[in-house]
Amino acid sequence: MSFKNIIIKIAFYLYNNKTYKEVKKFFFNILQNPDYKYKKYFDSFMISLILVSIGILVYEVKHPVPLWVDNFDIYVVTFIFLLEYILRLWVYNDLHTLIIREHEESTFLNREFNIWSPIKVFFKGKWLHLTSPSTIIDLLAILPAYRPLRVLRIFVLFRVFKLLRYTKSIHQFIEVLATKRFELYTLLFLLLFIVLTAGISIYVFEEQKNPNINSLFDALYWALVTISSVGYGDISPVTHEGRVVSMMIIISGIAMISFVTSVIVSSFSEKLTELKENRIIEEINKNDSFIIICGYGQMTRMFLKNSNLLPYEYVIIEQNQERVELGIKEGYNVIHDDASKHDVISRFNISYAKITILALTGSDVNNIYISLNAKALSRNIKVIARASNKDMEKKCLLAGVDYVVLPNMAANHMLLFAITQPTIYRAIYNILTNQHLAHIDEVNTVTHLKLMGKRVDEIDFKGYKLLLLGIQASNDAPFCFNPPLDKIIEHDDILLIMGRKISIDYFQKRFQKA
């Protein structure tokens, strides 16, 4: 067997090895995937480790530390940093997938398999990773552990920089500043120009007359200290020419500081909404299940009012800026975006969280598009869509919508009851709007173990002021309406009961799992 064949065989082995893939995926998620639910624990652990390590290094500057503390810093902390560095390098890219791709392409094109091509791409990727600023910081953060060279302790600073990896707010600050790169570079060049001009001028005017200016470095140092409005006072001009330069540099300094401040403030005000929206998405992505509501109209408001959802349980996506502002004003989590776009929904934690999308915009076309977009991203996303009529309901179901609500139809049903059967209307209205007088609720025997094994007549529903409407068995059996008195309640059965809210709450409490 040739060398190439062995490599291809190993590549396929790794490609098909479930354990290898799962392990690599796990490390990728924990190191790189911000949506992975356990990443926050890893990040917190690393932040604590960095802080402890900095604390040890700073403390031992003036105080002797016990040997075990020193060993902890040298061996444990550094080992974890080193391990993290290696793991990041490992998960960055895969050689076996590149080899398989090359093999498949060469087989398809009937050309000779070139092993060096994927290896080249692989190492190029690794090199890119190794030379990225954050990886360089990671490497430099390992160095302070080498005790014989005390100068390496200066690299403790890189342990502080390493915090950037795990703290999003600093990261976001840098990202915001990066958007004003052009303005900041322009200001930096202007600053350099003024410092250089003023420094050279003062050097020329005062080198002979000012005892504190002995070199060009002294002159540049004075210019920088003055323009920044710090003004230590260790160097000050002594000639008229020097003072004129000072006056000019002070005025330029004020202008420069104002410019820098305004650039930073404007970049933040421009990005503030985006930052807030990102924060909402990050917070919601930490949950195992949440609801994405598309459209902020009357129906959404009514739903939110009825459901009492907590802020981290839902997010509203609305296209219309006015409605977004209204939603925010009314205290809801609203982001300004188009829910029918692939990129917008894919920002949510689709792989790990249980997501329900409510397509509640006023347009059937939009609702169907949102539903298709969600289902195209993942079939596991549950979609509840609003439709205006029966034909649209059919189209929604074709698009894969799990449940369709027809507000017109529901309201028309109620109108019909109100006209034709006014007594029933009162009952139905109470039931459908979840009024406290007539609540229909489910009691699951899994969470209410004390109900299991009992006969229906052994439970005093009348005493609890409840009506037992029926029992739904777990084994997909048809719903048992008005169950016989001798029916035994089994495991996983769901009891459908009706009564006042307080009666239901009391009943559930009494039979809840201990």
Binding site: I384, N408, A410, I424, A427, F481, I494
Partner: protein, 230 residues
């Protein structure tokens, strides 16, 4: 049938199902519209009794000559106009039952203040349904089948006839379950005309003329109705 005639003010997709359902139930329906477009739409959908009037004009509204027993249904698309119309109708026909359609809590309040006897919120039921779908799937399915006119499970009003064996007995003394039905509430004529849920905890004595609201399969409800008459 209690309702003699129903005037439906406005014709739009919002109220199409209602209008068609009422027509199929052999009610005497009059559709009142304010423009030619709505008139044409109603004609196209097979309605015959259509009146075109200026609904802002009280004289024209009064010319409809609705009797006290007639029900007036306001389903105009424009909320402002729907409230105005409700107020005008309440002014002209103070004793009539006015039912109106609303699309928000604030409009509902205004319609009630304008004199509507019942206001149906377009989104309240649906938003609750979404909540139920998410939290109570079995209950959702049950309620859906209860409301679906095609399903066998339904709610029915049953009035206790004269000389019925149910007259003057306590609710607890009669086992409705034996007949395959569940009594969920009633209108006790002795106490008030208010609907009372059986789970409210009060002891009720049944009397002739009381209206029982029962839940069950249509077969069982039919049999029970026949049983109490016989």
């Amino acid at each position: 049938m209690k309702v003699d005639r129903i005037f439906i003010f406005g014709y739009s997709p919002r109220s199409l199902f209602l209008t068609k359902s009422l027509q199929s139930k052999k009610f005497k329906i009059t559709i009142v519209v304010s423009n030619r477009g709505q008139y044409e739409d109603a004609r196209k959908d097979g309605f015959v009794d259509i009146i075109t009037i200026d609904m802002r004009d009280d004289t024209q509204l009064a010319s409809l000559r609705a009797t006290k027993e007639d029900t007036l249904v306001c389903v105009m698309e424009d909320n402002h106009f729907n409230v105005f119309l409700t107020l005008s109708l309440h002014f002209i026909y103070p004793e009539n039952k006015i039912i109106a359609l609303s699309d928000s809590f604030h409009v509902t309040q205004k319609l009630k203040m304008a004199g509507a006897s019942k206001v149906i919120d377009l989104y309240q039921v649906s938003s609750n349904r979404i909540y139920n779908i998410l939290n109570k799937p079995v209950a959702t399915h049950f309620i859906d089948s209860l409301l679906s006119f095609e399903d066998e499970l339904s709610l029915r009003e049953i009035t206790i006839p004269e000389n019925s064996f149910l007259d003057k007995i306590m609710v607890d003394d009669f086992n409705f379950s034996e007949h395959g039905i569940i009594l969920i509430g009633m209108i006790d004529k002795r106490l008030s005309k208010q609907f009372l849920f059986i789970t409210s905890g009060l002891e009720h004595r049944l009397d002739r003329g009381d209206v029982l609201v029962c839940m069950g399969y249509n077969d069982n409800l039919d049999k029970f109705e026949k049983f109490i008459i016989d």
